[in-house]
């Protein structure tokens, strides 16, 4: 896996242009490894008449058979014996979880990536901070990657205290937003900065609650709001990002540039971090292909489609090329204006049949929300 290591040692984390050749080599190397070590992956490639040797240039990457995230929710497939890897699960949608294995070297590559991107976004500081985590309090029964990454994000600075919005009580997680409001009030008097990490939905609800009660604070310099984990079940309440930025400034005195959003999936463990214009540029370790929702063929930049994410980061599970449940658009990097030239990804929705009504026999099983 020498090309993978070289790729993750790239000095500029957003240089997708000069890393292209290296990326192709690392992808080929990964594809070969998966093909030789994961019988299921080999079967899929063979039945689609694809061989890792076919990968010669960047254009060949789109031809690699991709796996939908739904696939990992129903099949546990690995390319390594389990004692060699660390497993993590996705946050469950519709009650199903992806089980993904990570190899140690792959995680080291990930660490390099986090350090580089964190440095670029000025997330590291030696000044200790208090943390409010709008997410799950770690518990031995919770193996979700989102819990682990939310905890990981509290390591950007020395952490004084961590307060969690979702507490594990009697076998399930319950939100404690009142507790968070109290914690914010307490931390705002501290001489250290306060950092927020977690689901945008809860962050927004708490800010709204505080705004309605007329609470106003001016947090210390170095305070930041980090958002990750999607809107999930609160999709309908999705607020425009600007509304959240304005609210954060009004209630906590946090500037827009100190609000950072992350995007990632356990099936594509690349840290997507927004730029100062809040766009998710594709980092050098990853590539994005947007695919037509009917033909699954790649579409040009600016067009909506299914999001195909490619990275050679992980050996333990064939997540080389995955398609998520999101609908997205890829834009030319120059359109952003922040200076980063790699294209940027906007997630605009999620696939689904939820609003569809049917009385055709058997069709309702496809639409799981419709019940008796």
């Amino acid at each position: 896996m020498k090309y993978r290591s070289l790729l993750f040692k790239t000095s500029d984390p957003f240089d997708t242009f000069n890393t292209e050749e290296l990326f192709v080599k690392a992808v080929k190397e990964n594809s070969k490894y998966q093909y030789d070590n994961c019988p299921e992956y080999k079967k899929i490639l063979e039945s689609m008449n694809f061989k890792p040797d076919f990968i010669e240039s960047y254009d060949d990457i789109q031809k690699i058979p991709f796996l939908p995230t739904l696939f990992f929710k129903n099949h546990n497939i690995y390319s390594m014996p389990s004692y060699k890897m660390i497993k993590a699960t996705s946050a469950g949608t519709k009650g199903k979880f992806s089980n993904i294995g990570f190899d140690f070297t792959g995680l080291l590559c990930g660490l390099r990536m986090v350090l580089k991107i964190g440095k670029w976004r000025k997330l590291f500081s030696f000044i200790p901070a208090n943390y409010i985590v709008f997410g799950y309090k770690p518990h031995r029964k919770n193996k979700t990657a989102v819990t682990k990454t939310a905890f990981g994000a509290t390591l950007f600075t020395p952490a004084i205290r961590r307060t969690y919005a979702l507490k594990y009580k009697k076998g399930k997680y319950v939100p404690d937003l009142e507790g968070i409001v109290k914690a914010i009030e307490k931390y705002s008097k501290s001489r250290f900065p306060l950092r927020f990490m977690g689901f945008p939905s809860y962050t927004y609800f708490v800010l709204k609650m505080m705004d309605e009660r007329g609470k106003r604070y001016k947090l210390k310099k170095g305070s930041k709001i980090m958002l990750a984990g999607g809107w999930k079940q609160f999709y309908k309440e999705q607020v425009e990002k600007e509304v959240l930025y304005k609210l954060a400034n009004k209630v906590l005195g946090i500037e827009e540039e100190d609000i950072i959003e992350f995007f990632g999936a356990v099936e594509h463990p690349i840290l997507y971090c927004d730029c100062i214009n809040h766009h998710f540029h594709v980092p050098a370790y990853s590539r994005v292909i947007i695919r037509d929702v009917e033909s699954l063929e790649p579409v040009e930049n600016g067009k909506i489609g299914l999001v195909n994410l490619i990275t050679p980061m992980i050996k333990a599970t064939p997540i080389l090329s995955v398609v998520t449940d999101d609908l997205g658009i890829l834009y030319d990097g120059e359109e952003c204006g922040c200076g980063i030239l790699s294209p940027y990804l906007e997630i605009v929705g999620r696939i689904g049949l939820k609003d569809i009504k049917t009385c055709a026999a058997g069709a309702e099983e496809l639409i799981k929300e419709v019940k008796l």
């Binding site: 696939f71 609908l327 049949l353 069709a363 008796l372």
Partner: protein, 430 residues
């Protein structure tokens, strides 16, 4: 939300209300009769208030494609002429008048007294908005006490409409009770079922078999299950017109209805004929897809990804991949399958095409007897009678021209039955 004697209560009061429900219903049934004329007047007035836009805000939240057309059908069905015609068709002339038998052999005469079945429990599925109201309206026209268990997907429209109906005609308040009990609360649903003389259940196989599990013996089950529609083609009267109509039906209903065409059967055993048909019909589908564009990209994406996933799943599990031949058009497709089964398509403009010679039509359709409803018959004029007879014998209950497979007709039966007859009983009195 619970509706009890015309007033709204919080769902948490369910237990208290259920405990006194039987006494209330017994009192009503012992002492009151719902005058069908009053119900008809109330339903007509309800139609007017829908037409005047009273429920527009709620309806627009439902986000239904082509809602205007649906509302037109609802308004038509609430008109006096339609209700009276429905009653006359389903129950016969002068049904509500007490009549006398006139038996042969000088037998003694008996009085015939029409009565409602009694108490109906409606378990409405969430797959058609407004369906719970429709079901209750049929129960009211026949004078029944109606307990409605709302589907979880109901967004509050049903309870608002029925509340309005009670405002228009307060007599109805003793004849409708609505509960938003979740399907998981079997204890409460069983309690409702124990009070009922009939359970009217709407929904798919899972819903119906769940009700069969808990319905008390002696309680009549009135099942309105999900069905599969198909087209049968054996020559043409006017090929262009008929194929256009079939294509527009397939595309415009998105193949989501019981009556929507899922599979097109051709009266042939020849694979060449199937291929020739697909090549000819695909452009018709494309034209229709262009005329009725489907906007929900999230739905299309979900179906595409699901198909792709199934393909991978088959590869991994080593199950035989069907030797289907797909004709892919723009926003539509036709798939030739080697079997002869009536099957659900991928919907949204993706239809199945199969060969089914006339000689095998009957035996094939019998295998799907629980799912038969609508057949769109396209054939040469001289064959229509023979094929209609064959379809009717095999269990199909709606035999339509291809373009009208999902059209609503005044006075038509529901899945081969007159619903009102099932909601009533006859008392003979000497």
């Amino acid at each position: 939300m619970i509706l009890f004697k015309g007033d709204l209560y919080h769902s948490k009061d369910q237990e208290i209300i259920l405990n006194q429900l039987e006494d209330e219903i017994n009192k009503t049934r012992r002492t009151k009769m719902l005058n069908p004329e009053k119900v008809i007047v109330a339903l007509e007035k309800l139609g007017q208030s829908i037409a005047e836009g009273e429920f527009d805000a709620l309806i627009s939240q439902l986000n239904i494609e082509g809602i205007e057309k649906h509302i037109d059908i609802i308004l038509m069905s609430l008109k006096r002429e339609n209700i009276e015609y429905k009653v006359k068709t389903e129950l016969g002339e002068h049904y509500f008048d007490i009549q006398k038998t006139d038996p042969p052999f000088n037998q003694k005469k008996l009085w015939i007294r029409p009565m409602p079945l009694g108490t109906l429990l409606h378990i409405a599925a969430g797959n058609i908005d407004g369906l719970p109201v429709f079901s209750v309206a049929e129960g009211l026209i026949t004078g029944n006490v109606n307990i409605l268990k709302l589907p979880q997907a109901d967004k509050g429209l049903s309870i608002k409409i029925i509340k309005k109906l009670i405002e228009i005609e307060p007599d109805i308040s003793d004849f409708v009770y609505i509960f938003d009990t979740p399907s998981s609360d079997l204890h409460a649903i069983k309690k409702m079922a124990e009070m009922a003389d009939g359970i009217v259940v709407w929904g798919g196989d899972a819903a119906i078999s769940a009700v069969r599990q808990f319905a008390p013996v002696g309680c009549k089950l009135i099942e309105w299950g999900h069905k599969l529609g198909f087209a049968y083609i054996s020559g043409y009267e006017d090929k262009e017109k008929e194929l256009t109509a079939l294509a527009e039906h397939i595309i415009s209903t998105r193949q989501l209805l019981c009556s929507s065409c899922q599979t097109i059967f051709l009266d042939t055993n020849s694979q060449e004929e199937l291929h020739a048909f697909c090549e000819e019909f695909l452009p018709y589908l494309e034209v229709a897809a262009d005329k009725y564009p489907f906007q929900s990209i999230d739905v299309i994406a979900e179906r595409t990804l699901q198909k792709y996933y199934e393909k991978l799943d088959n590869i991994i599990s080593g199950s035989a991949i069907r030797n289907d031949r797909v004709y892919k058009g723009k926003h539509c497709s036709l798939t030739i399958c080697p079997d002869k089964n009536l099957e659900l398509s991928d919907m949204f403009g993706n239809c199945l095409v199969k060969g089914l010679p006339r000689s095998e039509l009957f035996s094939t359709l019998r295998k799907h007897k629980g799912y038969l409803q609508t057949a769109g018959l396209i054939c040469q004029r001289e064959r229509r009678e023979e094929l209609t007879d064959l379809l009717a014998r095999s269990g199909v209950v709606r035999i339509m021209r291809a373009g009208d497979m999902s059209s609503a007709f005044c006075g038509e039966a529901h899945d081969g039955e007159y619903a009102l007859r099932r909601y009533t009983r006859i008392v003979n009195i000497q």
